[in-house]
């Protein structure tokens, strides 16, 4: 989408509002220039004492008041209909952005820190709201006011109209020179504000390390630099705003001086009446507002354009074509198929070696696969490929006959569910966290089902110790829970609704061997008719698997059952021996 298309799209969305507002503003502007005409005629009658003149004068005053009343009503409506599109667009855009962000692939989210995205939605949308609200309102206002007012002035005196144009024209040149500079500065300021935000966010996240390591000074120094840069830009903007922008306002006052000076000269030569001078003064006030707004509106449009750029950086990210509108369609994946991985290679962008190379295996439906390997051997990479968190070319991963690369993500993930090693929880109650995503998958969850999965994941005992049980709110990112509790809660979440393949990526690292074994065997008992992949460092967790893969440097170096591997794989045997020897104290 280009900027022009974007502007057009949301303009079209509000076309009726804008059209209505435009008609109203046209009428209001006409009434507005008519009023001084009646004032002029009334004033010229002031010095005449005849009763007729007085009646005519009162008539003009009545016109003024009548027009003013009508203008008030129409103006209320015009402002509402011109301002509302800003809010309507804001809301629509927020939803559109959120929709897209939820569907953009991992590669996008790795590039854009969430702090930056939030800043776009919080700050840049303001710019766009003003663009579509105040921006268009003032644009219509200015176009009509600046086109009607001079015509009415010209009708009174062409010469004086031309003279009054001089100060305004000069001021305009100055104003726009200042303005061009301000646009650049505004972009810079937003950028610097984002930098500040990002840096403070990082420091707050690492506050424990910073405090423990006495790194306060380092943080303050960094903040000082960024804060200083922000201040510099802010002051430069203030300078332009206070010294250059008001020039327009003063040009308007200067206009009054010109009217009184030249107008006065013309009056003395009887080319103008005193009433006409008053009307001219009134028109100059009418010009003042739109001229002052012209400054504001140019800012609004410029900021709007900057913001549209930011927003387009999200909106122009393509959701892969296979995923567009996929949610409404039926899933192409068949139930009860096998998972096949054929010659899978994966290399991270910028890396020099493959994280996975030539990985192949088949997992028949209902079977359990274990994966063991040292750190950095590619276990998590493999898991992230299987759940399509990472992009894989077609021809490598299949569910039955369906190739993952061409299957809509949402469908793939309804069949294949991953429990990651760093569980993410929402600051909601425990039961809401367990229910997370269930309704998206079209699943009604009731209390008994929730209780069941909570006890399966061995969280039941912990809950009984909380005063509010499963309605306990877990805090931001689950801060109220221990690492082990978070992991078990994320397991309960994964178990609540049925799926075809469950992948556990080292999820029980924070619980002891015994609890891990209990959870796994409890789960295996219950989950019939599902395939399972368990990634773990612990042989004890893998013993019951139908097949175990041993990974090293991205390659499968051994495969087989527990007993087979003890005989064939040195690495497996060594790990097993170490852990055997490693009698551990329970529940440590």
């Amino acid at each position: 989408m280009t900027k022009r298309e974007f502007v057009g799209h949301y303009f079209w969305l509000n076309r009726y509002s804008y059209l209505f507002a435009m008609v109203l503003i046209l009428i209001v502007s006409w009434l507005q220039v008519e009023i001084p005409r009646h004032i002029q005629m009334a004033i010229d009658l002031l010095n005449e004492s005849s009763p007729l003149a007085h009646t005519t004068l009162v008539g003009h005053v009545q016109w003024v008041i009548g027009f003013a009343l009508l203008m008030t009503v129409l103006r209320i409506l015009s402002r509402m209909y011109a301002l509302n599109p800003g809010r309507i667009t804001e809301a629509a855009l927020k939803n559109d952005l959120f929709h897209r962000l939820n569907r953009l692939p991992t590669s996008f989210h790795q590039k854009f820190a969430s702090g930056r995205l939030i800043s776009i939605i919080n700050n840049d949308l303001n710019g766009i709201r003003l663009f579509y609200g105040v921006g268009f309102l003032q644009l219509f206002n200015i176009v009509f006011a600046l086109s009607l007012t001079p015509v009415w002035m010209y009708r009174i005196s062409p010469v004086l109209t031309l003279y009054t144009a001089i100060p305004i024209s000069i001021a305009f040149v100055i104003f726009f020179l200042g303005f061009r500079k301000m646009r650049v500065l505004h972009v810079q300021r937003l950028q610097r504000l984002q930098d500040l935000s990002e840096q403070l966010m990082n420091d707050l996240s690492g506050i424990d390390v910073i405090k423990a390591q006495n790194m306060g000074e380092w943080v303050q120094q960094k903040t000082q630099t960024i804060n200083q840069r922000l201040l510099e830009t802010t002051l430069k903007i203030a300078k332009i705003q206070t010294f250059v922008i008001p020039v327009l306002d003063y040009a308007n006052h200067l206009m009054k001086v010109v009217i009184l000076g030249f107008g006065g000269y013309m009056l003395l030569r009887s080319e103008l009446s005193i009433g006409q001078i008053t009307a001219f003064l009134s028109y100059s006030v009418l010009l003042a507002l739109p001229l002052m707004h012209l400054g504001r509106i140019v800012t609004v449009f410029q900021m709007g354009m900057v913001s549209i750029d930011s927003v387009l950086s999200i909106l122009n990210q393509d959701i892969p074509s296979r995923d567009t509108d996929s949610e409404a369609k039926p899933s192409p994946l068949s139930k009860g198929a096998s998972l096949q991985v054929k010659n899978l290679n994966y290399r991270y962008a910028g890396a020099t070696i493959d994280a996975l190379s030539q990985v192949s295996f088949t997992l028949d439906f209902g079977k359990k696969l274990g994966i063991l390997g040292e750190i950095g051997s590619g276990k998590s990479t493999l898991v992230n490929c299987l759940n399509h968190y990472l992009e894989v070319e077609s021809g490598h991963i299949f569910w039955g006959d369906s190739d993952m690369a061409t299957t809509p993500l949402s469908h793939w993930r309804k069949h294949i569910r991953t429990v990651t090693q760093d569980p993410y929880l929402f600051s909601d109650s425990i039961s809401e966290n367990v229910k997370f995503g269930a309704s998206s998958r079209g699943f009604e969850s009731d209390d008994s089902k929730i209780d069941k999965v909570l006890s399966l994941s061995q969280l039941g005992d912990d809950l009984s110790r909380f005063s509010q049980g499963k309605h306990t709110v877990v805090g931001e990112k689950g801060i109220m829970l221990s690492g082990g509790q978070k992991q078990r809660l994320s397991i309960a979440r994964a178990l609540l609704t049925p799926c075809d393949l469950l992948v556990f990526d080292n999820v029980l690292s924070a619980v002891d061997y015994e609890t891990e074994r209990q959870i796994l065997s409890g789960m295996f008992e219950r989950i019939q008719g599902q395939s399972v992949i368990v990634v773990s460092h612990r042989v004890s967790a893998l013993e019951q698997m139908d097949e175990i893969l041993v990974l090293k440097q991205g390659q499968i170096i051994a495969r087989g059952t527990h007993t087979q591997l003890l005989a064939t794989s040195d690495y497996y045997r060594q790990t097993w021996l170490l852990q055997q020897h490693e009698t551990e104290v329970q529940s440590a």
Partner: protein, 588 residues
């Protein structure tokens, strides 16, 4: 309008501005000049009309016109200096406030961060301070200038012709009532929109941070539905705000025109009878704008000032939050210097601790002694208080009861910064800075690349760092998954080695590492441990077995303590735990 609490905020803000008195002085000095100019201009208009235009007297007109231009120039300069210098003061003060707040936050107790979401602290430091810069500084500047100008002009008008002024004042009550009514409505709506917006933004932030979870659970439609709810509610409230805004603006503009009508109607008789000159009437008509526009803007200026008071309130929370070492009697770090060069001894005497004043005791009478070079192992179930002991030692939490002696000095009397060089803490969660690998190992200490590499080699991290695209200069990103969990732990070990502290604390630090790698690390650590003092929370027997002291913890108490052999011989809890395990292994 202003509550006493608001005045307190104001005073606090003024304290920050006091540093920039000279700027403030320049700004304030300009104000009377600006007001004088604002009065002189309409007075000169009256002179032009009454002395020259009405009697058609050309002589002297150029002089008055020149005087008017002069007044405008002076007014421009005074206004620009007034705004610029006071804004400069405001922005400099905000800069200082931000630095002061960052410095304070670095000294906040752990409990603050437990109870406050990072996003909230961040928005205090960014958007709340920006709000003060924009709403408060600009609002106050505008309000002060406008109200003084309005009062001055009214005074001048009254002085020139009190009857006409009364006509103008007659319109005031309805205008004031209207603005008050609208303002109250707007305030109620504003409170509502603010909380809706905060909720919506909070939710958005959560979803974006957890976008991986949202996507893996195919929960997009569910989260979007919830978010749409917030957006819609916010939009509806804002549309109402638009309606009120539109009404206020339009009615006041309408009233201005009606008042002009009234002035002419009333003035027509007065002019005829010679009570009012034409110039005065025209000047009144032209000055109305200067009275009604500020009155209209008052409400929005006050609203923006009120908004800024909400921001002040937030910021004041940060200023009033007690620092962790506030009101504590501390020994000066000078005095401690010689005593805390190295770790010598640690003694816990009947230490009791609870996280909240009314919460249960997490530690309930813990006593033990540890000498230089000794190894202490903490064993026990989750929630038995093991980690709490470490948190007290690192001074993350203060306010313990009983006595903790470090080198014979009471820990609570030692400033936090005097102990940080003594220990390294290695935890399960590792925070990585948005810096390169070298920085993440050395942190802010000036270590050479060789020293950093040596530390990395010591814990077997060198190999994987070499495989990164830019090796030690490779940029890491906090919160991204560039490194595996195990690799980040290796970085944290290297960090500890590089720091070379005499006391090492391990809190389940090796749980994400596979057995083979852990074996390597254990070897490295035992080399490192040789001449260090170690406190370890662990569940592997090999770590525990060789400890000089094992504390078996249960519900905040030490149920058994001694060496491995002693505890086994005791045949108590520890032996039982081991026994249980042995039996299970025998079964397999």
């Amino acid at each position: 309008m202003l509550k006493s609490i608001d005045i307190q905020y104001l005073k606090h803000f003024l304290q920050f501005t006091s540093k920039y008195k000279s700027y403030t002085r320049i700004g304030l000095m300009m104000m009377p000049i600006s007001i004088a100019c604002n009065l002189a201009f309409p007075w000169l208009i009256i002179q032009v009309i009454d002395q020259h235009l009405s009697p058609k007297q050309f002589e002297g007109l150029p002089v008055i016109i020149f005087a008017m231009i002069l007044v405008l120039v002076i007014n421009y300069i005074a206004d620009a200096f007034y705004s610029y210098y006071l804004r400069k003061t405001g922005n400099l003060s905000i800069f200082d406030m931000r630095m002061a707040l960052v410095a304070r936050i670095l000294k906040f107790p752990r409990s603050y961060f437990d109870n406050t979401a990072t996003g909230i602290t961040l928005s205090r430091l960014t958007s709340d301070l920006e709000t003060i810069g924009e709403s408060f500084v600009l609002g106050i500047l505008g309000l002060v200038k406008d109200s003084l100008n309005t009062i001055a002009i009214l005074g001048l008008m009254f002085f020139i012709n009190w009857q006409l002024t009364l006509v103008v004042i007659l319109v005031f009550p309805p205008v004031l009532l209207l603005t008050r009514f609208v303002r109250n409505r707007l305030r109620a709506l504003y409170l509502m929109t603010r909380s809706t917006l905060a909720k919506g933004t909070g939710y958005l932030q959560e979803c974006l941070l957890g976008v991986k979870t949202v996507q893996l659970y195919a929960a997009q439609t569910e989260v979007e539905e919830k978010y749409h709810g917030f957006t819609e509610q916010f939009k509806q409230a804002q549309l109402k705000v638009n309606a009120y805004d539109a009404a206020l603006f339009s009615i006041i503009t309408g009233i201005t025109s009606i008042t002009i009508g009234l002035l002419i109607w009333y003035g027509s008789n007065e002019v005829l009878q010679g009570f009012v000159t034409l110039g005065v009437l025209i000047a009144f008509i032209n000055t109305l704008e200067k009275i009604f526009v500020p009155i209209r803007d008052f409400s929005s200026q006050i609203a923006s000032i009120q908004r800024s008071f909400a921001a002040f309130e937030h910021i004041e929370e940060l200023f009033s939050q007690a620092l962790e070492e506030d009101n504590r009697v501390l020994i000066s770090s000078e005095e401690l210097k010689t005593k805390l060069i190295d770790f010598q001894s640690l003694e816990f005497k009947e230490v009791r601790f609870r996280y909240k004043a009314d919460g249960p005791y997490v530690l309930n009478g813990i006593s033990f002694k540890l000498k230089q070079g000794e190894k202490l192992a903490l064993v026990g179930t989750t929630g038995s208080g093991k980690s709490t002991i470490i948190r007290l030692l690192t001074k993350s939490y203060l306010d313990y009861e009983g006595s903790i002696l470090l080198n014979g000095i009471e820990l609570s009397a030692i400033p936090k910064q005097s102990i940080s060089h003594l220990f390294s803490l290695m935890q399960q969660d590792v925070y990585l800075f948005d810096q390169d690998v070298q920085f993440n190992i050395a942190l802010d200490k000036p270590l050479s690349l060789e020293q950093v590499q040596e530390a990395a080699k010591y814990v077997y991290a060198h190999e994987f760092i070499q495989s990164l695209p830019n090796q030690y200069q490779h940029q890491l990103k906090s919160g991204s998954s560039q490194l595996s969990a195990g690799q980040t732990q290796l970085i944290s070990f290297a960090r500890a080695v590089a720091k070379g502290s005499p006391l090492l604390m391990l809190d389940e630090a090796t749980s994400s590492v596979d057995s083979v790698t852990e074996e390597l690390i254990q070897n490295a650590l035992s080399r490192l441990f040789k001449d260090k003092t170690v406190i370890a929370i662990a569940h592997r027997l090999s770590t525990i077995r060789h400890s000089d002291l094992i504390l078996v913890m249960d519900k905040g108490r030490v149920s058994e303590q001694g060496k491995h052999a002693q505890l086994l011989a005791l045949g108590g809890v520890y032996a039982g735990l081991l026994q249980e395990h042995k039996l299970e292994e025998a079964e397999q």
